[in-house]
Amino acid sequence: MHHKPADTARQFAALSRRSTLAIFRQPAIIAPSLIFPLFFAALGSSSFSRAISLPGFPQVDSYLQFTLAGTVTQGVLFGSVTGAAALATDIQDGFFDRLLAAPTSRTSILFGRLAGSSVFGGLQALVFLLVLLPFGVTVQAGVLGYASIVLAGFLTAFGVGALMSVVALKTGSAEAVQGTFPILFILLFLSSAFFPRETMSGAYRRIADFNPISYMVEGQRSLSIDGVSLTAMTQTLLIPTGIAVLTTLLALRQLSVRLAAR
């Protein structure tokens, strides 16, 4: 297959536009991934307000300040499933075939879908920051911190979306993709998204120590509480980038498997 790079870029742009429009044209899909994390943040803020004085918690004025990074990550994980579920729906209802019957660059089909949920991931992070600011939440790292957290939202949504796309491409079932979501949710709760690792013990602590989500969240948390540092920036941006590279390779492999099986 010989596609000129310019044609591929144009196809990617057009398919990205389609997937982005699709997300914003379905309020019923985007609303929960915006509302639930804020609801959890509000709930945690009132329930755990005195938890911040426990040993192991960083010096923060409020639990909300502590949980900002967890809220952003939770929302982005919620939203990142939509792109993969939409890819599975495309396979189920035949739109995928429509694209394959045209001289469409095969990778554009995958990346075009991921683009929509990634843009949404970045926007989610921005919305959470803007909504929580009036409640006393700050990002000590300033503009660089805000930009990094928004970019992390984009990268996390891309990486997790690619991982979910593996399921979409393997099963061709939107239900199967939605069915894997609880795994993400469990991984989130088995991380330091809502409590510092220093307050954990036993197996819970060991899992959190191995969980990459812990380090992503802690990077963003450090940007918001402590300010800019190389470690915080690395954790905030490089971990989701690494995950995105790995999961994209897996998704591309699964795409090849699906196309070869035809």
């Binding site: 144009r10 196809q11 742009a13 057009a14 035949g94 394959l100 001289p103 035809r262």
Partner: protein, 323 residues
């Protein structure tokens, strides 16, 4: 009108596709000539959609070869895609996008220059009567509107060969007629059309030639009129007064074998077909027989189908499925 097969827009040779033990398509040979409307007729599960999916590069054949628009469907799949238009029955149209947006997307996929996209989209919307609905989301379209949009999408790049997979399934009679008209118009402009259908009337009305597929095999192929003729002569039914029945019978029996009919009607298997009706009328007139009613019943494609497969296509859901 058989072209040499190497220049024909669609040529399949010994094409097979197996899904495990199931032979969905089993060694078919097929040639569709330039400028034809070729009807591919068969019940659900006969293998017609599998053939179309192979010819449109969506499936690889297990064995055999196929060339579409001059290109091999496996080795030159991308060139095939650039030269064909495809409207698949089971390929949904994104309900969240408008008709215009989908045409724009399709134009990009086929590499149509940005400055020509708008004009082409508007031309096609007008052609299929969707200009007024262009900016509405497809979720608000009726079934007929979706099919017309699907047709417009398949024409964005002005393909030489058009594949229509069951284009009117589920449509109301008016929408069906509108779509038939458009297919005829496209064909008159030079587009070669391969059409799959399970509707006998559709194949009869539209197709220059048809192939009947059953259990993965092509069991009949030819012009609808020739196929029908091959089943037997048409039946000429005549009503005359009771007093002239015997006299009429003598005249009619010179044109073919008498056939059983309802009481009060005479039927003859008219050798030579419709061209001889005038001759029959003249003979009856010369014998002073007054004809009250006359009709010529051609054998139907369902008769052809039944002759080839042993069962009728109408109500063929009970037929054994080939996959």
């Amino acid at each position: 009108m058989n072209n040499t097969s190497n220049t024909a827009p669609i040529v399949a040779e010994n094409l097979s596709r197996h899904f495990g033990e199931v032979k969905a398509v089993d060694g078919i040979n097929l040639t569709v000539n330039q400028g034809e409307i070729f009807g591919f007729l068969g019940p659900n599960g006969a293998g017609k959609s599998t053939v179309v999916r192979i010819l449109t590069t969506l499936l690889r054949p297990t064995s055999g070869t196929a060339r579409v628009a001059g290109f091999d469907v496996v080795k030159q799949a991308d060139q095939v895609r650039r030269n064909i238009g495809v409207a698949l029955q089971d390929a949904a149209i994104d309900p969240l996008m408008s008709g215009y947006e989908l045409l724009e997307l399709q134009a990009v996929l086929y590499g149509i220059a940005a400055n020509k996209m708008k004009q082409r989209a508007n031309e096609l919307l007008e052609r299929v009567g969707l200009t007024a609905a262009a900016d509405r989301r497809v979720s608000t379209y009726s079934g007929g509107m979706r099919r017309r949009l699907d047709l417009a999408l398949s024409l964005v790049h002005q393909p030489a060969v058009l594949f229509l997979d069951e284009p009117t399934t589920g449509l109301d009679p008016m929408s069906r007629l509108t779509l038939w008209e458009e297919v005829r118009r496209l064909n008159s402009e030079g587009t070669t059309v391969m059409l799959t259908t399970q509707y006998l009337e559709e194949a009869d009305q539209l197709a220059d030639r048809i192939a009947i597929i059953d259990h993965g095999h092509i069991v009949r192929e030819g012009k609808p009129s020739d196929l029908k003729r091959s089943v037997g002569d048409p039946t000429l039914l005549i009503n005359v007064s009771r007093q002239q029945m015997d006299q009429a019978k003598v005249v009619l029996s010179a044109f073919g074998d008498m056939r059983p009919t309802a009481e009060g009607t005479l039927g003859v298997g008219l050798k030579g077909g419709a061209e001889r009706v005038a001759e029959v009328v003249r003979a009856l007139d010369e014998a002073k027989v007054v004809v009250e009613h006359l009709e010529l019943n051609q054998p139907s494609l369902d008769d052809v189908f039944a002759d080839a497969t042993g069962y009728r296509l109408e109500g063929a859901d009970n037929a054994p499925q080939a996959g």
